[in-house]
Amino acid sequence: MSRKFDFWTLVMIGTWGILLLLLFIPVGSVLLSSFFDTSGNATIENYLRFFAEPRFQRAFINTLVVGFGGLAGALLLGSIMAFCISRFQIKGSRFVSLLAILALVSPPFIGAYSWIVLFGAGGVVRAWLRDFGIMMPPIYGVGGILVVFALKFYPFVYLMVSGALSNVNRSLEEAAEGLGLTPLQRTFKISFPMVFPALTAGGLLALIQSIADFGTPRLLGRGYNVLATEAYTLYSAEVGSNMSMATTISVVLIAVSLVFVLLQRFMSRRNVYHGNMINKPTKIKLKGWRNVLAHFAVYFIGLCGAMPVIISVIYSLRRTNGPVFQDGFALQSYERILFNLGDVVRNSLTFSASAVVMIVIVGTIVGVLVARRTTLNTSLLDGAFMIPYVMPGIVIGIAYIAAFNTGPLVLTGTASIIVLSIFIRRLPYTVRTTSSALRQISPSLEEAAISLGYSPFQAFLRITVPLIVPGIIAGGMLSFVTAINELSSSLVLYVGSTITMPVRIYLLILDGDFGTAAAMSTILLVLSGIAVYIAFRLMGRNEQALL
């Protein structure tokens, strides 16, 4: 008995150690650095400057604008799609869901660039429209950012709301019908309140992602700066890099997203109407123009959301001469990756794979700890695991630089720092899924095994582990998707030898070499797709797990 106690005490200490090293010290360094000026004197000057300077005020307001704009766009597209798919018979609705998944797993800055290809200054669609005499403004600026966010983040709303909608017991609507409510009244008085928590939770998720996003405003903004891009600019400026101001902005960004993350968690906790599901909702078959309209809406949203993917695949196959596209198709872009950029692919794969292995092992053990040994200490731990959710990737990157650039542990420029930054961002997800999976397994299963003669450890190994392993591997696969698509923290942390695919794609886009960027994006998508496929095979097709 006492040996087991020692093991879990050790796990507890180890977990707090990991959190201290990888979370508290970096966050503390950011906080600390924001209270010092560039010459090392303690001051609140940075914050005063933040609130005084129009440049930062504008970035702050812009951040809220893209946040709420992303929320509004995602809500609009997501709820239309969710409502149509869960209430009407749509031909090929599984294909449309697949399009939503594609939008979700593709890196957002690819979206930004694909829309530039179509609607930018020299955009294909714009040029084509110009031939007809239609002048269209280019997509740059806040409008473009909001279009990309709406199309990129609508799946959050779609997946959450369609889940909630298909859980509304049909009897409730029938009861309302029996009480004499018109279909419109029914929708607003019965269905809408039931899905309202899902709507807000999904919308807030879109908002949090919009605030944290770096690549899209960077590529599409053209002077429209948000906190994430300002922090990066201040950090990376070759002349006059201002770490203390970058950390100040990071602190503000953490504070802003903290508010919305807390709100989001509050709303998703309310998202539990567990009615009995005896009377499942039925899908109505629409007729005439309504049917055409519903199909058009669903496919339009789905295809627009997946447009970046489609564009990437097509452009990756185009014949090129240097960075310039020629007519016809060829595999030149892939050849270039194979011969010149193999190490980038290898970096991405090894970093992501090692991060995921660590996430799965540590996350599972800590998940068991949180689920099975509930003391004050473990609930504190549960709370501490919230923190990485609040940290946008840019902030994690800057925090890691602030913490590990000098001092006893210097990690900057190494592969470990990138792996660790991915590890800490995704660890909470695995801890959470493992502990909730464990809580769903009745303790009497292990007790049964014990009463049959297995030691507690063996019972855990033979009964509980086989039951949670598929979920853990599936979770690991989804973590792999996040890890391999991670841009913003790696962009801060990379050096020449530790460059990853998303960073390379971002740099290629800046260099104007879109053929190679598209080919690399396609490789990234294929890898992500394989991981999602494996995950769905293991746990059933569960799109909600992607949230």
Binding site: S442, E447, S451, L452
Partner: protein
């Protein structure tokens, strides 16, 4: 010395005492039931015997061996769970064979013993299936076979039938009883269902609030309850209202004992036909019917009497025997049917 004894068992949780000095003894082959409302400590006692939560103090001896010194997985005790606890990732066969593996039973024997156990619970046809899609009754049969197949020294059952529907519950409890008699294994059975306890047990231990109210055969528990709690919990009970009507009734019956509670079971009362006189040792109590409830094999007639509202149970009510509220009737109260309890709710003897 009894086969299993628990002596002065105490279990203290933070803020409340789940077991407060409990002592029981169970004989070899006995079917012993712990009966009580939820929170009375019956499951806590069972889990202490299984080893899942140790007692705070007290001793548990099985066949002369101190159980508390043995970790749960070495106690050799079979257990059947309320939520079945069937391993969802193993086939029915593998579920039942699970306990034989750590016992190093040769593969050939595993096959025959599992087959025997499965046929005892009528599941031989489903051996290769996964249990996930099976009904509650089938899953609990797996649980039963799995616990029996290891030939444990003791079988524990924690409300095994409470998640099943009424008909199946009766069917399965008969099977459990038959199998238990056949393999002759000491069994401790936890339930809150008094009818189930009466039907299945050799002896019943009625518990409330962490202590034992009474231990006895089903007949003793039902027919001769020693506390007001037992009388109330097992079966239904009429309590005579304190007052003149009760005093007059007791005087007419010639009872002079001084008790706090006077009770009588509905089935010990009867309605007196018009013009019929009360036999000796009984008194006719005049009243009016306030409610008539027909239940098929019996009917309950609620009668307002000077001694309070009394439920009279009428067996095999005839088709036309509907009583209407407001009708004047006489309730026949036999002297021997009365049960008296003192202020501490302890049973008083009315002999002599």
């Amino acid at each position: 010395m009894a086969y299993l004894t628990v002596t002065d068992g105490v279990k203290q949780f933070t803020g409340f005492r789940a077991l407060n000095g409990v002592s029981i003894s169970v004989e070899r082959g006995e079917f012993f039931t712990l009966l009580g409302p939820s929170g009375c400590g019956k499951t806590t006692l069972l889990r202490a015997i299984a080893g899942f939560n140790d007692l705070t103090s007290g001793s548990i001896m099985l066949d002369g061996q101190d159980l508390r010194a043995i970790p749960p997985h070495k106690r050799d005790i079979g257990m059947v769970f309320q939520d079945y606890a069937v391993f969802p990732h193993l086939s029915v066969f593998d579920n039942v064979a699970f306990g034989l593996k750590p016992r190093k039973v040769p593969a050939e024997q595993i096959k025959t013993r599992v087959a025997e156990a499965l046929s005892a619970v009528h599941l031989q046809a489903l051996a290769e299936r996964l249990p996930a899609a099976m009904s509650g009754g089938q899953q609990q049969r797996i649980g039963l076979a799995r616990a029996m197949v290891i030939n444990p020294r003791l079988l524990l059952m924690d409300e095994p039938l409470s998640n099943l529907d009424a008909k199946l519950r009766i069917e399965l409890r008969e099977e459990i009883r038959d199998i238990q008699k056949r393999v002759d294994i000491a069994t401790i059975y936890v339930t809150h269902d008094q009818e189930e306890a009466l039907a299945i047990s050799d002896r019943i231990c009625v518990m409330s609030a962490g202590h034992i109210e009474q231990i006895g055969t089903p007949q003793e528990i039902y027919g001769n309850p020693q506390t007001l709690f037992v009388a109330n919990f097992v079966g239904t009970l009429n309590t005579l209202a304190d007052g003149e009507g009760r005093a007059k009734l007791l005087a007419e019956l010639g009872i002079s004992a001084n008790a706090a509670h006077w009770t009588i079971r509905p089935e010990r009362l009867s309605l007196l036909e018009a013009g019929q006189g009360a036999p000796s040792g009984a008194v006719a109590l005049a009243g009016t019917i306030s409610k008539f409830t027909y239940l098929g094999r019996e009917a309950h007639v609620l009668v307002d009497t000077p001694a309070g509202a009394l439920v009279v149970q009428v067996s095999n009510p005839a088709l036309g025997a509907v009583r209407t509220p407001g009708e004047a009737v006489s309730v026949l109260v036999e002297r021997s049917a009365l049960m008296a309890f003192d202020a501490d709710s302890k049973r008083l003897s009315l002999e002599g």
